[in-house]
Amino acid sequence: MDKISLRNRSWNRALLFWLAALLISLIMEPRLSAESSQLPKMVLKEQIFDFNQVYEGQTISHDFQVFNRGTDTLLIERVKTTCSCSVVSFDSAIPPGGQGNIAVKVYTHGSDGRERWGVTIFTNDPNWKEAILDLRADVRPAIVLSGSAVQFSGKGNVSSTRVIEIKSGIDRPLVIQPHEFDLVGKVDYSVEETEKGKSFRVTFRNLPGPFDFYRGSLTFITNFPEKPELTIWIFGRFKI
């Protein structure tokens, strides 16, 4: 036998072996299915749900649909969340051929940018005991702040200013109203509407005095239900 024939034959053998393995797996598959048909079989309509664009502060919810394609009752034994979300309700027992829901609520407070939240469900399906439901969203700020805190430092008897810009992140007129301020006598502030309904400038000025350290906040009430309150923190650390 010449070399080329041997090489071709070994190639052909490898490919034939691969095809045989594929054929065997295809023949075996219905048998495996037949065996598992005596058990619950969970099928999820979707495992990933994308809310796309939402605004920070919105509470968003989604119902995941669960189907039981087996012949025994599918039990959702427990659910676990490791995120800022909660499972509002879920159908704990789904009969064969039936359908159930897992309702999930996501709190977007404190979220920013592309976010993901996960919920793990534990079932009695021997082939899928744990499934992770994945929720995603692009969280945009309803109100954009140039900073959430101002820091004063240096000499306590020298006055200086710090500025925070506040802008609307939504295409709606923004109204802000100072609500609480707990540094009276230590810090002054003024609010200027730089663009009607769109942007504001808050200027803080520390008042000279024998202070070494203070902290406090200025809270605004807004007309945006997504962000009804807005807090700017103020810190002062001085050398006496």
Partner: protein
């Protein structure tokens, strides 16, 4: 598995499927099992004895008889060559796509949760369980639980304070009023992929707390090692 590796493998598999699919619909379909050498193709066209080797041809030339056949050394089978070409092209496409995408993925990087946090907050951003234990027993720092109050109430690292990121402004003052800005703070949440402690760290740094470290998967890890807990 690193994202770039996953994306590259996906592209390679897709390309392979595309190649096989294209072969299914092309006019001159290439069989998957065949002799792709020139000799093989000539034999398939004209019969087994269609090809003569140079040796045999020389023998015929000198002796006028044909005794045996010795075909040429084989060429790389065409299907293998084509597959390799598709794989190389796919790799180039994946790398090219990465070059032009907005959030370019580095080819060499630490893709672990710790690695990503270090990239975001600096080398000292993450604290190991061993170091966190030391801080806990020496009382050198404070643990801040970034999970929602319901989870915190159900169980927490002993002495940890709750500062849920969802209600940061509401809880911040109570949780940190007695903590100077240079205090060592360890934040944690639950799960390898939980992001509440990262967000809390970011907010604390905005507030002027620079010495903040993250105990990745803190709650589960602390429980798993039977370390002191508070419940209720």
């Amino acid at each position: 598995m690193p994202r770039i590796l996953r994306e590259t493998i996906s592209i390679l598999i897709l390309s392979l499927c595309a190649g096989l699919g294209f072969n299914l619909v092309r006019s001159e379909r290439l069989p998957l099992v065949a002799d792709w050498t020139i000799e093989g193709r000539l034999k398939a066209r004209f019969g087994e004895k269609a090809v003569i080797s140079l040796e045999d041809a020389k023998q015929v030339f000198f002796s006028k008889t044909l005794t045996s056949s010795h075909p040429h050394p084989s060429l790389l089978p065409r299907i293998l060559r084509e597959t390799i070409s598709i794989l190389i092209l796919s790799l180039c496409a994946g790398l090219g796509f990465n070059l032009v995408r907005s959030e370019r993925l580095p080819l060499v990087a630490d893709w672990t949760t710790e690695g990503k946090l270090k990239g975001r907050f600096g080398e000292k951003a993450v604290i190991s369980l061993e170091d966190a234990k030391q801080v806990f027993f020496s009382k050198e720092g404070v643990f801040l639980d970034a999970r929602p109050p319901s989870d915190y109430r159900a169980g927490r690292i002993q002495g940890a304070r709750n500062l849920p990121i969802e209600a940061f402004d509401k809880h911040f003052d109570k949780a940190t009023r007695d903590l100077p800005q240079e205090s060592l703070i360890i934040t944690y949440c639950d799960g390898e992929t939980c992001t509440q402690s990262d967000k809390l760290t970011k907010r604390l740094k905005e507030m002027g707390y620079e010495n903040v470290r993250i105990l990745v998967n803190g709650w589960s890890l602390w429980k798993k090692h039977n370390l002191p807990l508070d419940e209720g």
